[in-house]
Symmetry: C2
Subunit: 218 residues, 2 copies
Amino acid sequence: MRPETIENYLKTIYNLSSNNTAVVSNQKIADKLSLNPATVTEGLRKLHELKYVVYEKSYGSRLTAAGSKLALDIVRRHRIWETYLAKELGFGWDEVHAIAEELEHVNNVKLINKLASILGNPTYDPHGDPIPDAKGKIQKSNFIKLSETKVKGNYKVMGVTDHSPTFLKYLEKHELIIGAGINIKTIEDFDNSIILVCQKKEVSISPKAAECIIVQTI
Amino acid sequence: MRPETIENYLKTIYNLSSNNTAVVSNQKIADKLSLNPATVTEGLRKLHELKYVVYEKSYGSRLTAAGSKLALDIVRRHRIWETYLAKELGFGWDEVHAIAEELEHVNNVKLINKLASILGNPTYDPHGDPIPDAKGKIQKSNFIKLSETKVKGNYKVMGVTDHSPTFLKYLEKHELIIGAGINIKTIEDFDNSIILVCQKKEVSISPKAAECIIVQTI
DNA sequence: TTATTATTTTTGGCATACCAAAAAGATAAT
DNA sequence: ATTATCTTTTTGGTATGCCAAAAATAATAA
């Protein structure tokens, strides 16, 4: 397998299994990578042989220790580049993902560590995702989805789970950027929209959007 | 053909035809890209079909206008990255080539122009090679190889044609870096070595090395 | 000019990464 | 429990990028 192919699979499995324990389905991998399910079946069989994943037929896959290590490395490269593009080169948070998607495959430890060092070894990227350190260690957090908040009150936007320019521009329009404080007022009985105040303006967030916004209680 | 494959061929043809008029042989391309000659024949046939090169069987190849445009774009990306790595990220001139070799394939105009702008739109890279501007325009120069100098006298090191770390480290040891002034004393009758003074020290340069050093009369 | 050497091309083959369609297997719904 | 549906796997097939060895062609030397 080509390194790039391996990297794309491992990164995707890592991202889809969030806590890195859950088993990931072929379909979800196929969707994320825009591949035919048949291709994914084949890919996973090979990754299993390479001992990067444990793949159980008709059940799902999860990363081995070796796979996890590699995945964390790619995730680190991706997120360091995203941060560098945003902070040092002036790109918008809706632009950085696509460029980092290509830059991440350039495998040069010294380069990534240099960029990280210039940025002050950040632990979070522009989307609020944690950046693994050079050893693959990731900072734990107690963030939850906006859709999972159980009580009214004050929260802070910590990240997003959808990196599409469309979604990010939508958030920006409502000033729902990383670090913004929000106050949850109520939840519409009719469609479960969340009514909240952000930057003194009342906004209605659809359940679908709330799924993609990460917050923390304050 | 994959974009990366196309880019590698076009860049190589461009570099080997120097003034961009000379016809390039398959063998030279095969050598530079570490490919079997059979593969190159096949590659050129495809590039001819794609109208990036004019390829005449058993004769050689040259770039079309379209091929030249693309080649200049890749050369620009490569040299901008080399300069950025050296000037902004602190890499040595013997390290930048290998990293730029990978970074050059990331095709994002805004990114390259941003890097160029940060660098002050440089016209030469750390090896003294000219950097095409965003429109593909390249600065002409009257540089010659050290091996082609006809008279004794004062010159200035303007570039190198060999980017291997081995060669570059050798030059650095003798302080023969870009911009250094040199004074050619004599040429050994025995082996055509060039005896010159650089940074007040006398150095003997072999004909092979002299082939790879670009200078300008001062 | 003919022989020798070097280069280029052809031929046949291999590995990778993909897909479409059919078959098998799992899940959910009635 | 038996459809119906969705997911996964198998099967057969394509395109790309590569190589080794043989054949053809060009260049060079005798």
